[in-house]
Symmetry: none
Subunit: 220 residues, 4 copies
């Protein structure tokens, strides 16, 4: 019984992720979802207490394993080389996102909309994510100064991790392959590590000594 219902719930979530991703949350009707899941639309309200509940279920199905993954790597720092842990965390995140590339695109896009998402839920998830990134970074650089300030590293890292999934069309055009393909993930992982090693490099002197001055442009 609960097994039967579980299958229905799962098929609804899968249909929802696909449609939410391609058409947006607001652009998807529960009839669309029900049609794709080959169920009656009333079941969505029945199982998830409404469209909003379904959205939250989708978000949870992304954030729970995502943060659990980050937490796990964070704990290993205590007895393993922090840099190895950090690299492995990045790799696992890429693989996880690749395995759930639709959901990933949907989540990182939809949280940029103020409404329609219970901000409290999202805020707490993002706070945890930031915390884990910061801890991993700190563990690597220790007492030293890195080439980039920690806050900048975190922001850029976050951008790098989500970019392929938010710009999948772009990547298809440039690479002729979908961002979920293992080969792309592998290459992309390598390029992030390259950047990260450079960014985390311990500094001895003034960090921007030999950079040419920025061209002057006036802000409006």
């Amino acid at each position: 019984m609960s097994g039967q219902a579980g299958i229905a719930k799962q098929s609804i979530i899968e249909a929802a992720i696909e449609l939410f991703t391609t058409k947006g949350f607001k652009g998807t009707t529960i009839r669309d979802i029900a049609g794709r899941a080959r169920l009656n639309s009333a079941n969505i309200s029945y199982y998830f207490q409404g469209k909003q509940g379904l959205l939250e279920a989708c978000l949870v199905s992304f954030f729970e394993p995502y943060l659990s993954l980050l937490e796990k790597e964070n704990k290993k720092v205590a007895w393993e080389d922090p840099e190895i842990c950090f690299h492995r965390a990045i790799r696992k995140i890429l693989v996880f996102q690749s395995d759930h590339h639709l959901l990933t695109r949907f989540v990182w896009r939809e949280i940029t909309i103020d409404s329609q998402i219970s901000r409290e839920i999202i805020s707490s998830y993002l706070m945890k994510e930031r915390y884990y990134f910061k801890e991993l970074t700190s563990a690597v650089i220790g007492e030293h100064h890195s080439a980039l300030p920690v806050s900048m590293i975190i922001i850029q890292l976050k951008g790098m991790l989500s970019t392929p999934f938010l710009n999948s069309h772009y990547i298809s055009e440039v690479w002729g392959m979908h961002p979920k393909e293992p080969y792309f993930i592998e290459k992309y992982y390598e390029s992030i590590i390259d950047w990260l090693q450079e960014a985390l490099k311990v500094q001895k002197s003034d960090m921007h000594a030999d950079r040419p001055p920025a061209p002057a442009i006036k802000t409006v």
Copy 2:
């Protein structure tokens, strides 16, 4: 008359950008927009031939100056140092996006939704963007090989340029400032240049000779 109408059109676009950004395109009603612009909602259909037309007007108001900017820097490569041009282009893009941070967030988010946007328009804009980025990159590295493949550079650059605007909440939390503030833009510009210089470095030998092997993780 056309002056009066021009003012009305402009105030509609401004209201639309604000609301589209915070509530999403589908989540915004034309009555919301009309209310904020202090106009009757029938005017929107009147001026823009419907909500869809308003959306396209917003996109055009972003992409036209954005691509014009890129094109201009691209032309200068003929008689100026390509690297200077590239850096200046990056700087101008950041400043432009900062000046129109709401619109920027809206555009880079909304184009990840398949529906509701005339794909032809978007595709051609993005194709041009890619072309300019590729030309600038090629102009810098010339015949040589860079540390990163050109396609990877372009993807990461694109991610870096949009990340602060797509994750403005995140940046507020980490930096205690909004991504539109000049100080942030300045620092962020510097960090992109650092990364770009590293990425464009001309290679003599195998690029990944001394990187530790990636930890093995099986993809599902």
Copy 3:
């Protein structure tokens, strides 16, 4: 088995009466009822062949004992003082309605709605009620004329008998007690009898000889 089922049926009816009374028939869902009766909602369709059947069961549970009561008093007229019988009938009706004050409120309200009730059932019940009232009245006044025409007596009596239950909030406010309380029923019974005795008084001459003329008001 039928004992078990009987208990279930009874608990459903009790829950239904309570909810139908406070929320109306249409305003009550069978899940509400099932929830209150601590049963699965499918049982209601099972036991009563649908919500409509449950409604009819409720109506029957009111009208059967109500009319049986009236019939009984009507029969006694053959060998007892008709006036005593009439008074006793009124008393019993008040007590019966007091004992089932929720059901009473529900029934007298719901039959004023044309739809949703099998009119035939209701009509035949009300016809019987009218018949008994008329017989009782006739038995008391015999060949004579009463102060009020019989038809008027019946209508006002009907109004008086149902008023306290249809206006229970009103009575709570005025009396500080619920219309189901014995003290109120007692006083109310007395006032009806006072009115009835006056109304049934045998007339010798023109019945309205000394009433002041009604103030003239034009009907729209």
Copy 4:
């Protein structure tokens, strides 16, 4: 313009009253109403902010003139014979209810349902009604005791005034005429006055001296 809209609003209210009365509030769909008013159903939300708003408009359209009528007669007590005022008030109420017999049936029925009506609105209207009835009664009996306690007079009066409209089918059967017909209203008015004069009769001794004892019936 506002004239046009006024006509639409009025036709909606008229259709609503008719349908609410015969089918109940919950049993009436806004499409029913819109269909009868020959308008699109969206107009109802447009004009009345939803079905609930339409309900409230109907209630207000009953209670405002009803209470205004009562208030007016109440004021006249200062310089006219209170009994005349009371009788005239009763007459006007009957005429008003007769002129709006559907609305009357609907209102006096629907307020017996707890839900779906903003209780605060109703409560304040009923409180005023009670107050006016009490004032009129007190003005007539002055310092003396009436045959019936004031609270009992008010409750019975209320019942008498609403009974014909709540039991219109009943009256049709008994009288062969509809309760809205002037002849019925006239006769009914007379019978109320008869009862009222008896009830308000000033008492000299114990009021129930010669009434036969009530037959004993045990309450369950």
